[in-house]
C-alpha cells in the first residue's frame, strides 16, 4: 500500500547528473530519481503497471523488475522504488535473463485469470497489459483448459453486501460516471491512490485479500467526485471505464489534437480525440506545472457541447440567413453605425481579441472596446482548476482590455451598435445584459445558439475552441497553444478573428497575422511564435499577477 509521502522524485531539466552502470555501460542519469525515470532518460522503457509519475509509489505490481547490485551481489529489485545511487550497477532485460524471466512470470500471474476481452474491451489499443505482454510476456499459456479461468462474470461471483451494494462481477455501477469490471482489474491500486492522494477523498479501496481481493467503494457509497473520471485514464487496464465513452469508439481509430481546456484560467492541457469529424473524448495531456495528469470531469465532458446547439450559419432578426450574408450584413451595420461598442472575451484566444482591437483601431473614435466577465470566480481546487472560468483573462488584460463591462451597461444609450464576440453575456447575467437591449443593432459572434445569440438582432456563427488555432495566457502567465481539430460542424465556419478581420477589412489571412498584432501590444510576446510556444507553453517573464 502506498503512503502520501513517497511521491516519486522526477528528473528536471536542471537535475544534477550522476553516473551509474547500466547493462555494463557507463551512463549519466539525473540524481535522486528512481530507476524507472532514470532509465527513461537514457531511452530504456521499463514496463510497469502501478507506478505513475503523479501518484505516490506503491510498488505492488512487480512488473518493473531490474537487477541492481547490493551487499549480496546482483539481485532483483523494483525499478520504480529503487533510487539512483552514484556508481550503482543496473541490469535490465537487455542483459539479464533473470530480469526477463521475472517480468515474464509476473505477466503470467497477471494473465492467469484475466479475461480474453480485448475485442470488447474499451481499453484495447491503449492497454498497458497488452503492451507489457508484447514487450515482456509473450508466454504460452500453461493454464489447463479443463479448469479454465475463474470467470468473475458468473452469477455466483456476484454478491450484494448488507447495504444492497453490488460487490462483484463484470458490470459494477460505481457511481454516476464510472463502471467497474472486476475481472479485468489487476489490483495495481492506482485508482485508490488517486482518490486518496490527489482527489483527497478516499472513496475507493481494495477489499479482501490475495486472489479474492477486489476494488470497491465503501458500503452504500458511490464513487462520486469532480475528478473521478481520471481513474479511468490511469487504470492501466479496462477495469474502470467512463460511462460517457463506454463503447463509443475504438481508441485506435481516434486522431489526437493537442490543445488546452477553454473553461478555466489554468488552461489544463488536453488532447481532443476525434474521428470522422466528430470529437469522441477529451483526455488530459501531462504538464508537470499546470495540470499534472489530471482534468476535471467538467473539462472532460466539454466535448459534448461541441456538437450540441451549434450556430452553423447566421440569423437575422430570428430568421436563418446564410453565413456569408450574415457577415456581409454585420459589416454594413458596423460601418454604418454612429458609435460601436465592441465586447472582447476572455473565452476567446489572444488572436481573436487582437482582431477586435484592430477592428476598433480601424473604426477610430467611433468604436470603443469593453472587456471583463460577469461569471463568478471560484477558488483554485489545487488539482487542475484555478476556479476562474474566464480562460484567457490574463491575455485580455495584457492586451490592454480593461474590466469595464459595467461602464458599457451604464452608457449603453450612447451606442447604436454592439458587437459581442464569443461571450454569452445574456447567460452570465440576464438582468444586467437586459440593459444592453437598448442598443438597436446587436451583433453576436457565437459558436452556439446561446442566450446572447438569441438576444441579438444578428448572430454570426464562428468556430468553437476545439476548432481554432491560437493561444491563451493562463493564470500563471504561461502562454499556451490551442490547435484546431478538423471537427467544425460545417467547413464554412470561420474562427472569430477571421470574421472580425472581414468586418474591419483587416485582410488577415492566418492566425499568425493576428498573433503579430498581439505581439505589438504585449512586449513579453516578442520573439515567440507557435513553434517556440510549443506543446507545453511558455512562461512569459514578468506578467503573472
Amino acid at each position: 500500500m502506498s503512503n502520501s509521502y513517497n511521491k516519486p522524485v522526477l528528473p528536471k531539466a536542471d537535475s544534477k547528473k550522476v553516473s551509474i552502470v547500466v547493462d555494463g555501460a557507463d551512463v549519466e542519469v539525473p540524481e535522486g530519481t528512481n530507476l524507472v525515470e532514470a532509465l527513461k532518460t537514457i531511452g530504456i522503457d521499463t514496463p510497469h503497471f502501478c507506478y505513475h509519475q503523479d501518484l505516490p509509489v506503491a510498488g505492488n505490481c512487480r512488473q518493473c523488475m531490474v537487477e541492481t547490485d547490493g551487499p549480496r551481489g546482483m539481485g532483483l529489485a523494483i525499478a520504480c522504488y529503487t533510487p539512483v545511487r552514484p556508481g550503482m550497477k543496473v541490469a535490465t532485460d537487455r542483459s539479464s535473463e533473470k530480469v526477463k524471466t521475472a517480468r515474464k512470470a509476473v505477466m503470467e500471474f497477471l494473465l492467469a485469470n484475466h479475461p480474453l476481452d480485448c475485442p470488447i474491451c474499451d481499453k484495447a489499443g491503449e492497454c498497458t497489459l497488452q503492451d507489457n505482454y508484447m514487450s515482456s510476456g509473450k508466454h504460452e499459456s500453461r493454464m489447463r483448459e479443463e479448469i479454465g479461468k475463474q470467470y468473475k462474470g458468473a452469477p455466483e461471483h456476484r454478491h450484494l453486501d448488507a447495504k444492497g451494494q453490488d460487490r462483484g462481477g463484470k458490470h459494477i455501477d460505481l457511481g454516476p460516471t464510472v463502471i467497474l469490471d472486476q475481472e479485468r482489474c489487476i489490483l495495481c491500486d492506482r485508482c485508490t491512490r488517486f482518490m486518496r492522494d490527489v482527489a483527497g477523498d478516499e472513496q475507493l479501496y481494495i477489499a479482501a485479500r490475495g486472489d479474492h481481493a477486489f476494488i470497491t467503494t465503501f458500503p452504500g457509497q458511490p464513487l462520486q467526485h469532480d475528478y473521478d473520471l481520471n481513474v479511468t485514464d490511469i487504470c492501466p487496464v479496462g477495469a474502470l471505464t467512463g460511462k460517457h465513452f463506454r463503447f463509443q469508439q475504438r481508441v485506435w481509430l481516434l486522431s489526437k489534437t493537442e490543445t488546452i481546456a477553454p473553461d478555466d484560467s489554468l488552461g489544463a492541457n488536453i488532447t481532443v480525440e476525434h474521428h470522422d469529424g466528430h470529437v469522441w473524448r477529451i483526455m488530459p495531456r501531462r504538464h508537470p506545472d499546470v495540470n499534472k495528469s489530471w482534468i476535471s470531469n467538467a473539462t472532460r465532458l466539454l466535448y459534448q457541447t461541441l456538437s450540441e446547439n451549434r450556430l452553423t450559419g447566421g440569423s437575422f432578426r430570428g430568421a436563418d440567413v446564410p453565413l456569408a450574408d450574415a457577415v456581409e450584413r454585420a459589416r454594413e451595420l458596423v460601418h454604418g453605425a454612429r458609435k460601436v461598442a465592441l465586447v472582447a472575451s476572455g473565452h476567446l484566444t489572444l488572436e481573436d481579441n487582437a482582431a477586435l482591437l484592430a477592428l476598433a483601431e480601424s473604426l477610430g473614435s467611433r468604436a470603443e472596446v469593453f472587456g471583463g466577465s460577469w461569471l463568478a470566480v471560484g477558488a483554485p481546487d489545487g488539482i487542475a482548476r484555478s476556479g476562474d472560468p474566464v480562460a484567457n483573462r490574463l491575455g485580455c488584460t495584457l492586451l490592454g482590455i480593461s474590466d469595464n463591462l459595467s461602464d458599457l451597461v451604464r452608457r449603453a444609450k450612447e451606442f447604436d451598435c454592439l458587437v459581442v464576440a464569443g461571450h454569452d453575456l445574456w447567460a452570465a447575467d440576464a438582468e444586467r445584459a437586459k440593459s444592453l437591449s437598448v442598443i438597436p443593432e446587436r451583433i453576436a459572434l457565437s459558436a452556439w445558439h446561446d442566450a446572447t445569440a438569441q438576444a441579438s438582432t444578428l448572430a454570426v456563427g464562428i468556430r468553437a475552441w476545439a476548432e481554432v488555432r491560437g493561444s491563451m495566457i493562463n493564470v500563471q502567465g504561461r502562454i499556451q497553444r490551442l490547435q484546431a481539430a478538423p471537427t467544425a460542424p460545417t467547413p464554412d465556419l470561420e474562427p472569430a478573428w477571421q470574421v472580425i478581420s472581414r468586418l474591419g477589412h483587416l485582410g488577415w489571412t492566418s492566425e499568425v497575422d493576428a498573433f503579430r498584432f498581439a505581439q505589438g501590444r504585449i512586449p513579453a510576446l516578442s520573439g515567440l511564435n507557435y513553434r517556440t510556444i510549443g506543446s507545453q507553453g511558455r512562461i512569459l517573464e514578468g506578467v503573472a499577477p
Partner: protein, 191 residues
C-alpha cells in the same frame, strides 16, 4: 535483371497467317452451325434465366450470424470495420440486455457500393459473426442509399438455405439444431 525471351519458331504455314486464321474460324463456324442444329449441347447458359452455381466459399454479400435466440452474434468489437480497407462498415455499439454479453451493435451498416468484397471483415471477426457465404452476387437497386445493408437486412436469412453441415447456421431460429441450442443457451452455455 533483363531476361531474353526467345521468340517461338514458326513454320512456314504459320508465318503465312491466312491458314491460321482459317483454322480459328473453323471453331467459330462449327459452334455457329451447332447452334442451328442442336442448341441444347452448346457450352453456354441462358443467363440470367439460368444462374451459375456459386461456391459457398465465394465472397458474396454479407450476412450477420445469429445466436440461438435470434440476437446477433456480433459483439460490436469493430474488428471488421478496422480491418476493412474500404472503410464501408459503420457500427454503433450499445449495452447488451443479456448480462452474459457486454455489448451488441445498435447499428451495423455495410455500404455495398463501397465494399470491395475482399473478405477481410469475415477474416477479422473473432466470433464468426459476419460471413460472406450468401451466394448473392448480383446487387441491384435504384438509389445509392438502398445499397447500404442495415443490421436488419444482414440478419435476415433463412437456415433452410444453408447445408445441414453448417452447424452455426442451423443453431439460428428456424434451423435444424435450434431447439437444442436454445435450451443450452437458456442454461447459460454460450457456445
Amino acid at each position: 535483371m533483363a531476361r531474353v525471351v526467345p521468340r517461338p519458331e514458326m513454320t512456314l504455314a504459320e508465318k503465312a497467317y491466312i491458314p491460321e486464321i482459317l483454322r480459328g474460324m473453323r471453331v467459330t463456324w462449327s459452334h455457329f452451325l451447332k447452334g442451328f442444329n442442336e442448341p441444347e449441347t452448346l457450352p453456354v447458359q441462358s443467363y440470367p434465366e439460368v444462374q451459375w452455381e456459386i461456391d459457398r466459399n465465394y465472397r458474396a454479400k454479407h450476412r450477420l450470424m445469429k445466436r440461438p435466440d435470434g440476437e446477433p452474434r456480433c459483439v460490436a468489437c469493430f474488428m471488421c470495420s478496422t480491418a476493412c480497407p474500404a472503410r464501408c462498415i459503420h457500427i454503433e455499439a450499445t449495452e447488451s440486455d443479456d448480462p452474459r454479453i457486454e455489448k451488441k451493435p445498435a447499428k451495423f451498416d455495410i455500404d455495398l457500393l463501397v465494399c470491395v468484397f475482399c473478405g477481410l471483415c469475415a477474416e477479422a471477426c473473432p466470433v464468426d459473426a459476419i460471413r460472406m457465404d450468401t451466394k448473392v452476387i448480383a446487387l441491384a437497386a435504384d438509389t445509392r442509399g438502398k445499397f447500404v445493408a442495415t443490421k436488419e437486412q444482414l440478419l435476415d436469412w433463412n437456415p433452410a438455405d444453408y447445408p445441414a453441415s453448417d452447424t452455426q447456421s442451423q443453431k439460428a431460429p428456424g434451423g435444424l439444431l435450434n431447439a437444442e441450442a436454445r435450451a443450452r443457451w437458456a442454461q447459460g452455455d454460450a457456445t
